[in-house]
Symmetry: C2
Subunit: 249 residues, 2 copies
DNA sequence: CGTCAGTTTGACCTAGTTCAAGGCCAGTGG
DNA sequence: CCACTGGCCTTGAACTAGGTCAAACTGACG
């Protein structure tokens, strides 16, 4: 257990700021939270199905995702988490993990002991409310994914996910709304959207041909935000952002 | 606002019991919560996308479901809620509804004012934790649906949903584990599982032909629980039931 | 320069969709 | 008591979105 890292605590404070106007005493309390920082390479499991974690993790850099592998070997990705997110807050109240948490890219995360988080929440109910709210937004995003997978065409699904990632990245200042780091490989996109790798590839080509996006490597450029939101049927309300997302262009 | 109905408060207490051993003072506090009871016919919206509810609702009898209609007109059902559930707890912290809540069958529900629930949670942190936990289980069930829709075949999806409904109904004593009220029409099953009505029909026939289930009207009989869980790849861990589900047979 | 992860392509295939028509049954009104 | 609805379930035939398999291509990196 290291001394609290200022940047990690700052990240947490920024996250809480997105929920309510944090007070001085709350800020001080958060700054005093002990966190242990750890770096991971790409594609490493941080928590596994069946684990009973005693801490939860705050993403400092990189990207994590949550997933499950069915008995048939097929994989489903449930969510993507970028800097500032706490992907496994649910472990505070559900003792056994029902899915896996892994890195998508090389990432650094800060671990917070459950009992420390619990103490913090008892002392500062607004922090507790903010954490609860985070898990609820997570669920809302999950519902949007479900609607996508269940009821959208392949092109709509991919477009919707791009819109979502762009909106989230914008909200934390990780993009100007034009270029963004699409952390997923095409295989992972397929596992997130319930499609095969081959079909993701063809769908991306179709998005490029329609001049909605361009790609170079894993960096994606949004060429036509209005067009993209239209094929995605994208309505950002479900993200429950405090400020409406300043859309590209 | 009526006087608190004993049965409604009892339902709430039973729900909380599923999370922790409730104390006398907590019990008394719950019994004192004012609730207004209301009955609905089938297929009626209780809350709509865009609403900003000031109360949340406890299901007393019947069944509710949450859903969204995409711009294309296609419908996705996110969850099913039976007696004892509080389907819109998330409205405590997300002020705008991002989906609809409706009755599947004629149902009675009890409404609890948000501010009353908030007061209760401030006084009794274990109740707050139990409510939070409920929303987390809801999210876990959502992930299981997502995995189903994304990565299971039609027959696996239908079988999985039947296993889930049976397990949940058993946990609250609404079934002996053999016969259960499959509240969904085939059209609604399709909207829940991302399939067409026609294909749901053919899939149900296939389940019947394999002697896994039988149906008469909307009552479904599970003939072969082991076989059903196998085609469903069903593992009830994600339901986070306190007691492991006593499976049929 | 070889290797390996990821992307792209082509050919073929199938699970699930769509559309359109019937059938069943419970409720209603005459 | 019967005819007439209106939901819901069932069937058939034709179709297509997306899957599968297998091979080739690209680029980064040791």
């Amino acid at each position: 257990m290291h001394a609290p890292s200022p940047t990690a605590a700052e990240m947490l404070i920024r996250k809480l700021q997105a929920n309510f106007d944090i007070g001085d005493r709350e800020r001080d309390a958060v700054l005093a939270v002990p966190m242990s920082i750890r770096s991971y390479g790409a594609d490493q499991d941080i928590a596994r199905e069946g684990d009973r974690p005693s801490q939860c993790c705050l993403v400092l850099s990189g990207a994590l995702y949550r997933y499950q592998v069915l008995a048939s070997g097929r994989k489903q990705i449930f969510s993507l988490h970028i800097a500032g997110d706490i992907p496994d807050l649910q472990s505070l109240h559900l003792d056994t993990m029902d899915h896996n948490l892994a890195t998508l890219q090389p990432s650094t995360v800060a671990f917070l002991q459950h009992h420390v988080v619990r103490d913090l929440m008892v002392q500062y109910p607004r922090i507790a409310a903010a954490f609860w709210r985070e898990t609820l937004i997570d669920a809302a995003i999950g519902r949007a994914w479900m609607a996508s997978i269940g009821r959208r065409s392949a092109i709509g699904r991919v477009a919707h996910l791009i819109c979502e990632i762009a909106s989230k990245a914008m909200a934390v200042g990780l993009t100007n709304g034009q270029n963004l780091d699409l952390s997923f490989t095409q295989e992972e996109l397929g596992d997130a959207l319930g499609l095969s790798t081959v079909h993701i590839n063809r769908t991306m080509q179709s998005l490029r041909r329609s001049r909605l996006v361009a790609t170079q490597g894993r960096v994606l450029t949004i060429l036509d935000w209005a067009g993209l939101t239209e094929v995605a049927e994208f309505d950002p309300a479900y993200l429950h952002l405090r400020a409406p997302p300043a859309t590209a262009q």
